[in-house]
Symmetry: C2
Subunit: 422 residues, 2 copies
């Protein structure tokens, strides 16, 4: 690859990356699989062509960094993930991964803190039910036991999947000692470029999003039990219809989220009424509820209020309600200093921007959770479509994001150096 | 069998019949199957022990009648069906079928019009998607083409199923001429005893229900198409959530039926939101709607109003709505004369009774539709449970129903004879 890094470089690498995927619509690149391995090797060779050196770690994460970098040296980490959901798009993860390599190759000039790109494994949790395996291993957070207990739907362990990747040069051997993973560099901060995966930036005609926090979520499985009865012979007043009770709950969840205002969201993603026939009043209905907020206390309030409302609906209808929390993640704040610098920079660069909450989880969440100052920059997502073959962002908008990130890294590095000098 | 026909006779035959069924919970006796054939042969032998003669017709319907009955003679038909739904109960159909045989055996005294019991095939439509095959064939309503086009889920045709039954003595050969089925007797009227399959008689502490009409139904498959989006990144105001739209529709169907008052019912028996994950706003939801009323015009109004409300909900939410009517049956009035006599009789016999609409379809509907004066007598259903192993009615209550039917047939026969003499 010749010439300066520019929009066409970004385009060539994102278009190149989308070719690596399983058959079918969109891009399916499950972590550690054959297509994923090929994609990682291709990125490795591209990064080398841009003058970088590459290293893989035992978790299958790729680092592209200036040649001769001391492992113990403090660095700025920037990147995103290589894996996709099934039949996903060409931008989710890929954008930040490619942007990271370009930013590392552009560097911050001689004497500046090195910029190291990371291309992480299994952020989505599409192959292994456990998301963020890559980022967690990058930060030394995974145990030997996890390597065997974490299995995909076919029963293949994380250990075996890593061995498959290692045979293809996509991972280094796990450490034999007490900790299978150790951080490879000392990140002073972390920056992740990503598509928004929502409709807000496009709708509000903003060029970039400065992410102030990553939303927390709570997930609950709910079962409403009424009485299955003949749909013809059971008068309306004598029914305990589990689906109508569920319908009231579904609607009330929407109302509650609207009452709380952005960034509160509440979604019932699944409803299954049984037995499911035309002529039987449903006796049972299962719901999957996902509620999110950037403020942990507000999220807690939302959940208790949802449970209270759901229970009141079921009780009024003579139905039984089981409320089973199944997973949760606390909200994570992005670095206040980085947000301040990013906001000031966007003003100086005359970027139209929005300070916003990320409604989805990202690798940055894991870094921030381990105390690494972290931030994300969002590019708009056309019509908010993501995790779908139609996922799209115009290349110009993606390139603006890279330009912004480069200026931001330079500014942050200067500040970091000044503070170090104090 | 010796001695007079009494409650223990009814009990013995209903308990006897429940033994004939496929393995599994409850009673599974699908039309023309092995268990069904054995059950029919057992009823045949029981009826003969009660002094009756038995005849099967080409549709697999069994008639138990006084010996030496002229086929062309006018008769009173009374009975019900032998088949059950899968994992059904011991009373649905069985009650009226056994009651019919007892009523035929009890007779109406010398010189009265003969009472002929019928035990019909495939009323439920559990084996063949087409319900009332037995009653329809009894009335000569089925064609040769139906014999081949009507198939069960395994691809076995009605013709082949009848052949299986015929080999076991459970059907006579279909007629070779232009019409495969011809009525075997000339029914002056038809009476069907049945369990209510609903909770009303028990709740209102009535001993019997006098059915004034059989409800009509209209069934619609509805598809709501919104936009599948990320549940975390899509603000509430920017969603087109197909499931929340569906929830509003489900609730509004309940509200509409309540507004119309009994006997109006509206049921969404099935709801399926896609893709069905925690973290995706549902982009599509399918519903199955069943609405019923005893008045055809009111039913029509209900359906247009339901469609109007559903469409308004979808439109307000920016979703698309497909409304696909899939089946319907017009309401059928029971014989006004029979209702008058039954009401007067119940008063005289000091029976607590309720004139009511049947919310489910029954063989009587087919007879009435062909111009045969028809009526049904309901016995209470404990907790309204039917089509379920827990289906139950105390034997005493079932026997009261038989006593009432016997008195009613005698009264109707006297009236019929008087009118004939006029």
């Amino acid at each position: 690859m010749n010439g300066p890094i520019q929009e066409s470089t970004l385009q060539e690498m994102i278009e190149g990356l989308r070719r690596f995927g399983a058959d079918g619509r969109g891009v399916t690149r499950l972590a550690y699989g054959p297509a994923w391995c090929e994609a990682q090797r291709w990125l490795d060779s591209r990064a080398r062509e841009l003058g970088l050196d590459c290293t893989v770690d035992p978790g299958g994460n790729l680092y592209a960094h200036p040649p001769g970098l001391e492992p113990a040296a403090p660095v700025i980490l920037t990147g995103s993930h290589l894996d996709t959901v099934e039949q996903g798009g060409a931008y989710d993860g890929a954008y930040g991964a490619v942007a990271g390599i370009l930013l590392a190759a552009m560097g911050l000039g001689s004497g500046g803190i090195p910029v190291v790109a990371y291309v992480s494994a299994e952020e989505e949790g599409s192959r292994f039910a456990s998301a963020f395996l890559g980022a967690r291993s990058m930060l030394g957070m995974a145990e030997h036991a996890d390597l065997d207990s974490t299995q995909d739907s076919a029963g293949v362990s994380w250990r075996a999947a890593l061995e498959f990747a290692r045979e293809r040069g996509c991972a280094s051997p796990v450490h034999a000692g007490p900790r299978p993973f150790e951080p490879l560099f000392r990140p002073r901060m972390e920056l992740e470029a990503h598509i928004e995966q929502g409709p807000v930036l496009e709708a509000e005609q903003k060029e970039i999003g400065i992410v102030t926090s990553i939303i927390g979520f709570r997930r609950v499985e709910i079962r409403i039990t009424g009485e299955a009865r003949h749909a013809g012979t059971t008068p309306m007043a004598m029914r305990k219809d589990a689906l109508v009770a569920a319908a009231e709950c579904i609607w009330s969840a929407e109302v509650l989220a609207i009452e709380h205002g952005d960034p509160a969201v509440a979604t019932v993603g699944r409803a299954e009424a049984r037995p499911g026939a035309f002529n039987v009043v449903p006796g049972e209905c299962e719901l999957r509820l996902d509620a999110r907020h950037s403020d942990s206390a507000v999220l807690g309030t939302m959940l208790s209020e949802l449970e209270k409302r759901f229970r009141a609906i079921a009780e009024r209808r003579g139905a039984k309600l089981d409320w089973k929390p199944v997973s949760s993640h606390a909200p994570v704040a992005m670095s206040a200093d980085m947000i301040t610098e990013a906001t000031a920079l966007a003003g100086e660069m005359v970027f139209s921007f929005k300070k916003m909450v990320s409604g989805a989880g990202h690798d940055s969440m894991i870094f921030a959770g381990q105390g690494v100052p972290s931030m994300m920059v969002f590019a708009p997502s056309h019509r908010g479509i993501s995790h779908h073959p139609d996922e799209f962002t115009p290349m110009t908008e993606l390139w603006e994001g890279v330009r912004f990130c480069h200026a931001l890294l330079a500014r942050l590095a200067r500040r970091d150096a000044m503070e170090g000098a104090k």
